[in-house]
Amino acid sequence: MSVVCPITLDREKLRSEVLSIYAKVADNPQGEFHFHRGLEYAARLLGYDAAELDELPTAATASFAGVGNPFLMDLLPAGATVVDIGSGAGMDCLLAARRIGRSGSVVGIDMTDAMLARARDSAADADYGQIRFEKADMTALPLATESVDVVISNGVINLAPDKAALFTELYRVVKPGGRLQFADIVVGRELSEDARNDIDLWTG
């Protein structure tokens, strides 16, 4: 079951809250949040390879706040063009870059300045020149039509109040034969109207 945004939800407030929370995660990942962050969480609960994460810049792994593991499903082809929707501190972009090699490219999309700064520093530290980060709304991507082989994402699509607009935009940028492989949250029961209007739950 997906979460459908109720008409009464204040979308601007949701956007503002998301920006505020993820700026705090970027600046102080050790702070108090109602979701997990970091390398140890990614390895223990999500199946990431702890040894591989250890090789990445700490700035990228410390602020990781995904909810699943898009790399468990299928291999990213060498030379592929990969886009990470809501790239955060860049951990998944770095892992994607390792898989596609120097002949491919990774574009990380995020709307949080602090996360983008952290991600760019991490990519430079790791010497991954095939990664670039763009500040953009995920429903208006700065990407050419049918230019992407694989879209990845981790815990961000649920934050889009208009899923149809987001998926239409993803469909536009993906090449014929291309794919989405992303992690997000699922809800097993119908939510009450109060729960669907609770921004604190949306930003979790």
């Binding site: 997906s2 997990h36 815990g155 149809a164 998926f167 993906v174 014929p176 492989q181 949250i185």
Partner: protein, 47 residues
């Protein structure tokens, strides 16, 4: 999520893995109440 992806035109949409992403967090009780968990999704655009 699956229906929204299919309505957009994506094919072979499926959920592949589940994760107890909120285990040990302050939202664990709410997550358990509503069956909220992490999941991996795959979806393809026709060639």
């Amino acid at each position: 999520m699956i229906e929204a992806l299919q309505q957009t035109g994506f094919q072979s949409v499926r959920v592949c893995n589940f994760f107890n992403s909120f285990s040990g967090t302050t939202k664990e009780k709410v997550a358990r109440k509503y069956g909220v968990q992490g999941a991996n999704f795959m979806a393809y655009k026709a060639a």
